[in-house]
Subunit: 149 residues, 6 copies
Amino acid sequence: MKAHLSRRYRISASHRLHSPAFTGEENQSIYGKCDNPYGHGHNYIIQVTVSGPVDEVTGMVCDLASLDRCVQAKVIDRFDHTNLNVQECFFDKVPTTENLCIVIYQLLAEDFSPARPDCVKLERVRVEETANNFFEYSGKGRDGSSSNR
Amino acid sequence: MKAHLSRRYRISASHRLHSPAFTGEENQSIYGKCDNPYGHGHNYIIQVTVSGPVDEVTGMVCDLASLDRCVQAKVIDRFDHTNLNVQECFFDKVPTTENLCIVIYQLLAEDFSPARPDCVKLERVRVEETANNFFEYSGKGRDGSSSNR
Amino acid sequence: MKAHLSRRYRISASHRLHSPAFTGEENQSIYGKCDNPYGHGHNYIIQVTVSGPVDEVTGMVCDLASLDRCVQAKVIDRFDHTNLNVQECFFDKVPTTENLCIVIYQLLAEDFSPARPDCVKLERVRVEETANNFFEYSGKGRDGSSSNR
Amino acid sequence: MKAHLSRRYRISASHRLHSPAFTGEENQSIYGKCDNPYGHGHNYIIQVTVSGPVDEVTGMVCDLASLDRCVQAKVIDRFDHTNLNVQECFFDKVPTTENLCIVIYQLLAEDFSPARPDCVKLERVRVEETANNFFEYSGKGRDGSSSNR
Amino acid sequence: MKAHLSRRYRISASHRLHSPAFTGEENQSIYGKCDNPYGHGHNYIIQVTVSGPVDEVTGMVCDLASLDRCVQAKVIDRFDHTNLNVQECFFDKVPTTENLCIVIYQLLAEDFSPARPDCVKLERVRVEETANNFFEYSGKGRDGSSSNR
Amino acid sequence: MKAHLSRRYRISASHRLHSPAFTGEENQSIYGKCDNPYGHGHNYIIQVTVSGPVDEVTGMVCDLASLDRCVQAKVIDRFDHTNLNVQECFFDKVPTTENLCIVIYQLLAEDFSPARPDCVKLERVRVEETANNFFEYSGKGRDGSSSNR
């Protein structure tokens, strides 16, 4: 039996949406008030979905404590209570929530090792920026092909 | 990298579930208290999901302001603070939330032109009628084939 | 030990805000799109708060099943899946959420008889019209004096 | 037009995570504080998703009252306000939320007969254990093949 | 300037409502399915409200880390993932949520020492048993007099 | 009949908690990761509660459109999508949520003129920093006396 498990984590961070590829006016037009030079911020909710067979003895898809440690080390410790713009991974990328979502997926996918790494698969990362706005990435390229795993 | 973006909008509307194809008794049996001749109402949450490649320069799937204008003009201005039964699109259809969901999908799909219309795809419309009841439509017919796009 | 107990109930109803005391133009100016002649609707959340000593043997403020029966009979059966404007109690009053809140308080207060009526007090009724808008009434007049009990 | 309908139900139950296949120490290591011999509990939210063509006359995917009766009889009456460990279906299985989710799916799938059983399909059962932790099962085996229907 | 600060904590626990002062039939009649001999459970939300002057230099009512440590040690470590009935404080009291709320208030009040104990006051404890059911206690006796502080 | 009306507004902002009155080490000890020099951010929910007699003809406590314009002009336009630390009102005050709450109360109270200013009273401002953390201010000084109105 293959089941999906989703877990929600929370971080608070600030960002400024602004690209050096655009003039000041273009940045204003594209990012609006998100281009405020002093930044603004959000409480982001990060939802990680994994899938795998339910172990017949433990009754679990994966060990939650291991999953939590993995997300804590790779995501929360890095991004919580920070300014996303000063993170190395956003030096050459605008820290939109789309990009944050992809970065988090890639950080988790590159060495995703909670218990039973042989069979647990990272399905999807969802980042909620506000109660009315959220983004999802599942490792797919434009043509639908999977770039991970 | 292809990502999904979902955005939630809210409208308040009233409706009566009643079909001229049925007798009064049949309407009562099928729709129960939703057949109240004076109507009743809901706060509907409309969740619109689009997908597309994340633009490498802007870091965005689509321009949110354009998406909002599109939903405002086609959906919110039309349905918010109205009685669904007196809308032209429900003259020949019972305004169940299933039908409302399909109508909203079709209104958005017929000329879906937020920024980057070449690559942004309308994936799904979800309408929540109450906190415990919601409906989704993704443009699919009974055989799974897509009728839009 | 005196504790407060609050319980949340839900109804779906429609209404039109419009007063015969005003001209059409005045109604428009005062009620805006809530004056739509065909009505609109909401999922209302009704929160009833009572207080009383915690019974030393049962460990309860009041019998929840009795409270539920009381609210069901007086409030939910009357207002759920209805049009508030055709209710007798709104023949001479605009069915704003303020007035709905007061009416519900009065209906519950006039003969409030869940278990232990000698010591359980109706403290407050709160009606949430939307997730961002709510009203409370606690039986007080303009001068702060209590009109009930 | 094929639409999805999801409905949310709630139960309160207790459980202890503990397997006779493990030593006491192993149980502690695998289940942590969930292995407390006296149990603990949760408010579970059970979300049932069905799909089917929207009936052209009624405008509905399925009769909600029938669906509710089916879930009430098979799931809520059985599990609400109980200790999951003393349920027959958990005599030989640890009552993790993964297993609860699969059991509920199977109970609903084995004779899923709300109105229009010919065309309404059980898509998925989701069980939320806490606000930050949820599980989904859609009747799929490890190889992605469907074991039901 | 005196402000109120509220903080929400979560525990999962099980309980059985049953009093030796009543016959089996009376227990059934008073507690209904909550009298299930094997227990059931909830995700409880515990909301602690304190008040005090906002410190002119730090800009804070009290040190949140100290408050968290206090609640962790006195409440969460004691009750989370447990069966309330086997707690010493419920040997002679039915573990209703009313009583749980009063016990938590008393545990916090008896030696409430987050930062600035001289001026921070415990105002109120609220325990939410389900999304529709919550209880509050503020240290008051039947006559409104405060028993703490 | 005097009723309370509460309305919820949302802003996204960033801040850094740091006081020049303290050494770097003291700031670290008092504010922890909130002292991050590059800042972090939140989605703040601002709940404004007013009270007043329900107008006998309109059935309303106050005109919501006027209240919204007042909050928009004084609070949302000023703080939404900004860095709180560069706001003039926080030049000499740490932008804790306590202080943000008091500042918002004072901005609204100093010239609170939604419809019917003669009888509508600003009761309370509540600012939610995260889902588990909120602050309230009602214009009271340490001795309980009201400093406004």
